[in-house]
Every structure is written in structure tokens, then in C-alpha cells.
Symmetry: C2
């Protein structure tokens, strides 16, 4: 079985994004948000069948852990109310996809974060979504969208959401959204920087002493971290922290959204395969075909298949780790005899 831990609904029906635009326009003009538009099951089916579902079949994966489009979360837009409405609309749409294709998609939710706001609304939305069958959340370490005004993830500011995650036994993928700072290209700089930044915060702090059961997935292959693994091992040592295997890597996992063979080869060479979850973020940041291979850049299964892994390690990466990190996914699969 092959589970893709990193899929976003980047192909939602156009009414959904149009509503967001009119919601933000209403906010700017001081008007109430418009009513959310009607979207039929057929429209949802079509948006998925032509895209993610087709590609899953072509590439040979079975399931996707599916969340709202990350770049559209845009927590820096509007205010907390606006983020709350938008998160609910996005998550409800994910719930419908998962309801229409329960064998293929299972939900991870967007949180209604907002710069400066506390995390009460995020805690409530996470609870609501888990009741709908979601198995995790996307946590934005920079809701200011490239201004980086929130405290580090090890700060007590974040503890309410971590407490709820532990209580519900769901992990978070640490995933920023678009950037309103022109220095940071969203998918080419802000995403990768955030991954790297979050990991270094976890080295500096001691978050998992307070939350031994907390699990965080750092996407995009862990940002720069595996490439600079010696630097991070050395910095942990200089900061007087325990080895990374004890200090961080019991709780932190990297996905495989690294879009070429040498990157994946490095990832599996450096990082214990128990910490690697298959992911593609497909129909996402990089949608083209690599002229060097003739295959899609984001067809990461090809790289994993070609990597120097034992069969047992490949099972870890393709499914076993995901079932361990997302226990509610495992439970849902078991209930279906999978």
C-alpha cells in the first residue's frame, strides 16, 4: 500500500476561490462575507478525478492525506473571523472529497490562524474536523506570511494546539502559506525556509520534553536540513543538546517532496527511514515534466522506487510510517480491513 502524506486540494472548483476573493473584498470594504456558493458533488468529483485521482492511478499510489491548498490559506489576509470562515469552508470541502472518495482521500485540516491571535479558534476547528474524520492538521509557523512575527514553535504561545493534538492523537504538518514579502517566493523560498527554520527551532528548544507524544511532519524533504545534516548535528552539540536522534527525531518526520533523484538519494542516506513519509505534493508547486527524465518532477514515487532501500524500508516510507504518525488513518484503514 502506498500513502501520499502530502496532497493539497489545488484543483478545487472555481466557485471556491471566487468566494474567497469576494470574502476578502467584503472584508476590505467592511461588508459581511457573502454566502458560500453551491458546489455540486459532480463538480467536486470531476475536479479530483481529472487530476489527483488520475495521477494517483497512473503513478501507482493508493491514498492521499488531503488538505486545503496550502498557498491559499493566506492567514495574513483579513482577520481572525475571516480566517475562521475560510478555514471552515476549505475543510468542509476536503470533508466532501473524503466522503466522495473514502478509499482514496482522508482529511487534514487548515487552521484558522491569524497574526497575533491566540490559538483557541484553531483548537476548536481541529476538534470539529477530527469529528468529521480528519487525521491531522497543517500548522502555519508564520501566519504573517513572510513577515515572521510569531514566536518560535517552541514558545508557549503554541502550546494550546499542541495539547489538543496530543489529546486527539493527531500530528501536524508544519506548512506555511503564501508570502506577502516580495523577497520570498512562496514555493521556492518561503516554504523551504520555513521547514529549515522550524527544525532549527526544535533543536534550540526542548518541546518534546513537554510533549513526548507530539508528532510534527516537516514537508519538502525537511527543507535544507538533510543536505546540511552535519551542520545540524554540530549545532545541536554546540548548543549542549542531546544527539538529534534523541532530541528531535523521535517526534519529527520528513516527507519526500524532493523533486529529483539525487535529493531523494541524499534523504534516505542521511535520515533514518523510520522518519521518512512518502509525499509528492502533486499538482502543486512544480507541475512540469523534467526534461532530464521525461517524467513529472513531482512523481516522487519514481525516485523512491529507484533509491537504495530494502523492501522493508520501502514499506516504512510508503505506508507504515504514515500509519504510525497518523493513528487515526491507521484506524480507518483497519476498519476497512486494509
Amino acid at each position: 500500500m502506498i500513502i501520499d502524506c502530502h496532497g493539497h486540494y489545488t484543483t478545487a472548483p472555481p466557485q471556491h476561490d471566487a468566494w474567497r476573493q469576494s470574502q476578502l473584498a467584503a472584508f476590505r470594504e467592511g461588508r459581511p462575507s457573502p454566502d458560500y456558493p453551491a458546489i455540486s458533488d459532480d463538480e467536486i468529483r470531476e475536479s479530483v478525478e481529472q487530476n489527483q485521482l488520475r495521477l494517483l492511478r497512473e503513478r501507482g499510489a493508493d491514498m492521499t492525506i488531503f488538505s486545503p491548498r496550502a498557498s491559499a490559506m493566506a492567514h495574513h489576509e483579513g482577520d481572525e473571523r475571516v480566517s475562521g470562515e475560510w478555514a471552515r469552508a476549505c475543510n468542509d470541502l476536503i470533508a466532501r472529497v473524503a466522503g466522495l472518495f473514502p478509499e482514496t482521500f482522508i482529511g487534514v485540516c487548515q487552521l484558522p490562524q491569524s497574526p497575533g491571535a491566540d490559538l483557541k479558534a484553531s483548537v476548536a476547528e481541529l476538534e470539529r474536523c477530527v469529528e468529521m474524520g480528519f487525521v491531522g492538521c497543517n500548522l502555519n509557523p508564520d501566519p504573517s506570511g513572510g513577515r515572521w512575527t510569531s514566536p518560535p514553535l517552541t514558545d508557549r504561545y503554541w502550546y494550546p494546539i499542541f495539547e489538543k493534538m496530543v489529546e486527539l492523537d493527531v500530528p501536524a504538518m508544519v506548512h506555511v502559506s503564501s508570502s506577502c514579502n516580495p523577497v520570498f517566493h512562496a514555493t521556492g523560498a518561503h516554504y523551504i525556509n520555513a521547514d529549515t527554520t522550524a527544525f532549527m527551532q526544535l533543536i534550540q528548544g526542548d518541546l518534546f520534553a513537554d510533549f513526548p507524544g507530539l508528532r510534527l511532519v516537516i514537508p519538502h524533504g525537511g527543507g535544507a536540513v538533510p543536505y546540511h545534516w552535519g551542520r545540524y548535528r554540530g549545532l545541536a552539540d554546540m548548543l549542549g543538546q542531546p544527539p538529534l536522534s534523541e532530541h528531535v527525531m523521535r517526534n519529527v518526520f520528513f516527507d519526500t517532496c524532493v523533486y529529483h533523484q539525487p535529493g531523494i538519494d541524499l534523504l534516505v542516506r542521511v535520515i533514518d527511514t523510520g522518519n521518512i513519509l512518502f509525499g509528492s505534493e502533486m499538482v502543486g508547486a512544480v507541475r512540469g515534466i523534467d526534461p532530464e527524465t521525461g517524467h513529472y518532477f513531482d512523481d516522487t514515487k519514481r525516485y523512491i522506487d529507484a533509491a537504495a532501500l530494502t523492501e522493508a524500508q520501502r514499506v516504512q516510507v510508503y505506508s507504515a510510517n504514515a500509519r504510525r504518525v497518523y493513528p487515526r488513518l491507521d484506524q480507518a484503514l483497519r476498519e476497512r480491513g486494509r
Copy 2:
């Protein structure tokens, strides 16, 4: 011959840093800066002989392209006047090191950048330093120290310094300083993020159409870039840019400050060796010994020696590329028959 393109004077005599502290205190209190302290040649000799010079000999390198301590540039402190005094003090000290050890050290200068200030003072300081025999500069893409308030490097804001660099035929290493934003650990996040961010800006823009002779060294192995080389090739394609080899890699070079063998192996597998300059940043960010190897993390020569390179490629990485990217270094070496 082995040239380390990335060394900072992290071991300057203590009076130097003490003066900086009193300079900043005077600025805060509205007083004029104190006089710069006396530092003897012997003190400078000792600070280098016990550290960089000893390690260069032990590790088997010949020369270091030497610049002021990057983390201490702190362009976000004080104002433009304060940055100007500090840059001159730091650069004068580098000139003294290079004067005392002309066979081993050659200078690269710190620029008197300041958030919001134009680059006139930086242009003047670069000219002054090149007259003293310096061969390049360190350009901080974020003088706000982690607030990222400057425009992207492709913005015309930066053109005056690029024009002067081209005129003087000197390259810049794109190197941030310390971070005053608590989310970013300096050497574990801010440095690497800045490398990644700068590279993506160069993909988005078309800087080298305006400056075909401009050369930029992106340190720390290019940040996250080589690990995510497929992502960057794919993003360039999505943005309608030419292949990276034409669009960026005629003008951009990565150093080898990657502190483990797998990282260096990836770097030389992915990046043309014509674009890789040997560097260690030794006595810098990561000063410990790797328990996995028994050698210093930043003894990057060991990784290059062990990498899958031909002898001709190793010559490129160890010296030929540096002599090409820093023509004034090449000229100085030729004048000495090296």
C-alpha cells in the same frame, strides 16, 4: 594549490569586539563613538596563528579569502554612520591580517549597509578596500537582520553596488549577518534561508541580463538549493525562464560549507564543478568534532578529497574556480609566481 574562499576573522583580538560594544552603547546614549583601541601586530599574529593559520596547515590548505566575522556585521544595529565606522574598523583589521600574512590571507570586505539606506557608502567602502588589495565583498541581502525589509537582489536598489563590482571586477559573497528575529537561529536558519532566498530571487528576475559580468558566491553550499535542484529547475521552467545553466549558473557559484560527506557528495553530483568553490568557514558556525568521523565538522577538505571527482575537477574546486571568480586574487598570485 588549495584556496578556501570562505573564512571570517572570528578570532579577532578582544579589543575589537569590545570597541563595537562601546560604539553601540554610545549610539544608544547619543554620544560620539569612542576612539578605536590600539591592537598590536603581535596580537593580530597570535589571534591568527593559533587558529586559522594552524588549522590551514593541519588540514592542508594554502590560502583563505578572508573577511570580517559575518555574524558581527549586524547591519541592523545602530544607523548608517555606525555601520560605516564598524565596516571600516573591521576591514582595516582584515587589511592588517593580509599585510602580516600575505601568502595566506587576502581580503574580502564588509559593506556599511544599513536598513533603508542607499548603497553609496557601500560603493565607497568597496572602492577603498579594493585599493587596499581586497578582492571581493560580502553583500548582505537582509541588512535588517531577519526582518527582511530590503527589496529582492534583482531590484534596482542594489544596482549601484553591482555596477561598482563589475567595474572593479570583484565578486560578492551573498552573506547575511546575525538575526534579531527570534524565529531565526543565525547559523542554523537565517544563513541557510538567505542563501536559498537569494537564489530563488535570481531565478525570478533577470539580473544577469543587466550585469553579464557580475559574479555572486552563494555560501553554505547554496543553502537548500542543490538538495532541491529539481524544484528549482522546475520552478524556472514554470516561470518561463531559461534553463538554470544559462539563466543563473554562468554567474552564481556555491561554496563547499556543507559539513558532512553525503551533503558534499550531493553537491558535486548535482552542480557543475565549474560552479563550486572550496570553502570551510572554519572556526565559524560549527566548531566541534563529528563523533561519527572523529574529525572537525568544518574540515570540508576531507569531504572534497573523498568525493567522486576527477583530478581536473578537484583542481577546479580547490583553486581554478576561485582564481576565475576572484580575478584580483589570481593577479596577486601571478605576481608572486603562483
